[in-house]
Amino acid sequence: MARVSRRSRRLTHLGEKLFSALSLGSALLVPLVMLAMGFDLAWSSLPALKQFGWQFFFTEDWNPVAQSFGAASSIFGTLVSTLIALLIAGPLGVAIALFLVELTPPGISRVVGTLVELLAAIPSIIYGMWGLFVLAPFMATYIQPFLGRYLGFLPLFSGPPLGVGMLTAGIILALMVLPYISALVRDVFLLVPGVVKESAYGLGSTTWEVTYRVTIPYGLVGLIGAMFLGLGRALGETMAVTFVIGNAHRLSLSLFAPGNTIASTLANEFSEATEPLYISSLVALGLVLYLITYLVQVVSQMMLRRLYRSWNVGL
C-alpha cells in the first residue's frame, strides 16, 4: 500500500515537472520567435546593406534590372499613408468612443460597438477589393475633383484624379484601424471613475466640457497608447494598401499620385524576385518595418501599462 502510494506520488511529481517544463518551454517560444525574426531579417538583409550602405535608406531609385535599390520611396509612403490614416481615424475613433460611452444608453451602445468592431473582423484583402473597385472610382469622380478644385493650389492636392494613390490608401487604412482605436479609447473612457465625471457634471458642465476637460486629460496616456496601437496596425497593413496605392517607386508631394509602402512593395515583388541582391534588398525593407513596429509597440505598451498602473494605485 505504502509502496503504491509512493510510486503514484513519484509519477504525479514527474507529471507535474513535465507539464510545467512544457508550459515554460511554450511560453519561451514567444519571445524566441520574436527575437529570431529580428535576427533572421537582419542576417538576410546583410548583403543588400553591405552593397548600398546607409544610402539604401535615402535613395529613391529602385531598379531590379540595374540591380540598384533604395528604400526611400517605400519608407516615405509608409509614413505618409499612416499619417493620413491617423489624422482621419484618430478624431473619428475618439468621437465614436464618446458616442458609445456618453451619448447612448448601454443597449444601443453595445450594438453599435459590436458593429464597429466587426470592421476589424473583415479580412484586409476584402478592404483591398472594395477599395479598388468601389472606393477608388468614388474618389476619382467625387472627392478628388472636389479637393482639386478648392485646394488644388496646394501641391498636396495637385495632379490628375486617378482614384488610386496615397490619399485613397490612407483612407482605407483609416477605416481599418478605426475599430481598434475606437474600442481602446472606449475602454479608456470607461476607466475614468464615474465620481470624477459626475462632479464635473454637477458643476454644470456640458457633455463636451466633461469630455474635453476631465475625461480626455484623465485618460490622455491611454489615448496616446491607443493612437500608437493604431499607428502600428496602419504601418504594416499590406493587402488593402497594395490594391489601392498604385505601386510606383516614386516620391511625390501630391497625395493623388500613386506611391508605395514597404508592405506593398514586399507583397508585389517578393514572389517574383530571383536575384539574391534583389531578395536581400526586399528583406532589408522588411527589417525596417520590423524595427519601426517594434519601437511603436514598445512605446504604446509602456503608455497603456503606465495608465493602468497609475489608476490601480490611484483608485
Binding site: 504525479t12 511529481h13 507535474e16 507539464f19 510545467s20 512544457l22 508550459s23 515554460l24 511554450s26 511560453a27 517560444l29 514567444v30 519571445p31 520567435v33 520574436m34 529570431a36 525574426m37 533572421d40 531579417l41 538576410s44 473619428l92 468621437a95 465614436i96 464618446l98 458616442f99 451619448l103 453599435v112 458593429l115 466587426l118 470592421l119 473582423a121 473583415i122 479580412p123 484583402i125 476584402i126 483591398g128 477589393m129 472594395w130 473597385f133 468601389v134 475599430p179 456640458t206 457633455t207 463636451w208 496601437l229 496596425r233 504594416g236 497593413e237 499590406t238 490594391f243 508592405a263 514586399l266 507583397a267 517578393f270 514572389s271 526586399l282 522588411g286 518595418l289 513596429t293 509597440q297
Partner: protein, 281 residues
C-alpha cells in the same frame, strides 16, 4: 472669474454630439457598404461550380475555386493544430506558473509585439526559414507563417481567460491534493472553457483570411495538391491574383471567393461572440 455665457457652450456641445453621432453612423455605414458590395457582386458570381471545379484559364468559362477553398481549410487547420497547443501551454505558464515575474512580463511583452507585427513580416520570416532551405514555395511555409500569427493571440487569450477563474476554485482543488497540472486541466480549463473556445475561434477567424503571409510562402496553384511540400492553392492569394487581373471572369470569381471568406470569418466571429456573451449572462 466671469461666468461664460451658456448659449455658445450649448451650441458647441450640440455640434460635438452631432459629430459623434455622425462618426458612429459613418462606421456602421462603411461596414454595411462593404458587406452590400460583397453580397451584390459575390452572389452573382457564386455557383456550384465554385465549390466543385478547378480554376480555368482566363476566357474559358466555367471552372471554380474548389482547390483553393479546400487548400485554405487545410492551411488553417494545420496552423491551428500547430499553434493552439503551444499557445494554450504558454498561456497556462503565464497565468498559473510564472514563478519568475520578469520572465513572464517579457513573454507577455513579446506576445503583444508579435500580435502587432505586420503579417507580411511573418511571411518574410517563414520564407527565409522554410522556402530558402527547401528551394521552393510550399504549403509548410504557409502553415508555419499562419501558426506564428496565431501563437501570440492564443497565448494572450488563454492567459486572460484563466485569470478570470476565481482563485478560490484553484485553492479548493489544490487543497484536495491534486497536482497543479491536474488542477489546471481538470478544473480551471473546465471553468474557462467558453472563453477559451471563443478565443481560439477568433484566432482561427483572424488567420483564415490572411493573405500577406501566404504570398511568398504557400504561393498559390491552379491544380489539386498532393501534399504540403508543394506550392499550395489557397483562397486569399487566389482572390488577390484574380482581382488584380484584367479578366472580367476572374474578377467575378474573386468576388465570389471574397464573399465566401468574409462570410466564413464573420460567421465564426459572430457565433463565438454570442456564445461567449450567452455563457457569461
Amino acid at each position: 472669474m466671469r461666468p461664460r455665457p451658456v448659449a455658445p457652450r450649448k451650441v458647441i456641445n450640440i455640434l460635438v454630439s452631432i459629430g459623434a453621432w455622425a462618426s458612429a453612423l459613418l462606421g456602421i455605414f462603411v461596414l454595411f457598404w462593404i458587406l452590400a458590395e460583397l453580397l451584390i457582386r459575390g452572389l452573382g458570381a457564386l455557383s456550384w461550380d465554385i465549390f466543385f471545379k478547378l480554376p480555368t484559364p482566363p476566357g474559358v468559362s466555367g471552372g471554380g475555386l474548389a482547390n483553393a477553398i479546400l487548400g485554405t481549410l487545410i492551411l488553417t487547420a494545420t496552423a491551428t493544430v500547430l499553434a493552439v497547443p503551444l499557445g494554450l501551454l504558454a498561456g497556462i505558464y503565464l497565468a498559473e506558473y510564472a514563478a519568475n515575474a520578469k520572465l513572464a512580463d517579457y513573454c507577455r511583452f513579446s506576445a503583444n509585439v508579435l500580435m502587432g507585427m505586420p503579417s507580411i513580416i511573418v511571411g518574410v520570416f517563414a520564407y527565409t526559414l522554410v522556402v530558402v532551405p527547401l528551394g521552393k514555395f510550399c504549403g509548410y511555409a504557409g502553415t508555419l507563417a499562419l501558426a506564428i500569427l496565431m501563437l501570440p493571440i492564443v497565448t494572450r487569450i488563454t492567459e486572460d481567460m484563466l485569470r478570470l477563474v476565481p482563485n478560490t476554485l484553484r485553492e479548493a482543488a489544490l487543497a484536495l491534493g491534486l497536482p497543479r497540472w491536474r488542477v489546471t486541466l481538470a478544473v480551471i480549463f473546465r471553468a474557462a472553457k467558453a472563453g477559451l473556445i471563443t478565443g481560439i475561434l477568433l484566432a482561427v477567424a483572424r488567420v483564415s483570411g490572411e493573405t500577406a503571409p501566404l504570398l511568398f510562402t504557400a504561393l498559390n496553384s491552379p491544380y489539386w495538391f498532393s501534399g504540403l511540400g508543394e506550392p499550395f492553392p489557397n483562397l486569399p492569394v487566389t482572390i488577390f491574383n484574380y482581382a488584380m487581373s484584367p479578366y472580367a471572369d476572374w474578377q467575378e470569381k474573386a468576388w465570389a471567393g471574397a464573399l465566401l471568406i468574409t462570410a466564413g470569418v464573420l460567421v465564426i466571429s459572430i457565433l463565438s461572440r454570442t456564445y461567449l456573451s450567452g455563457k457569461n449572462r
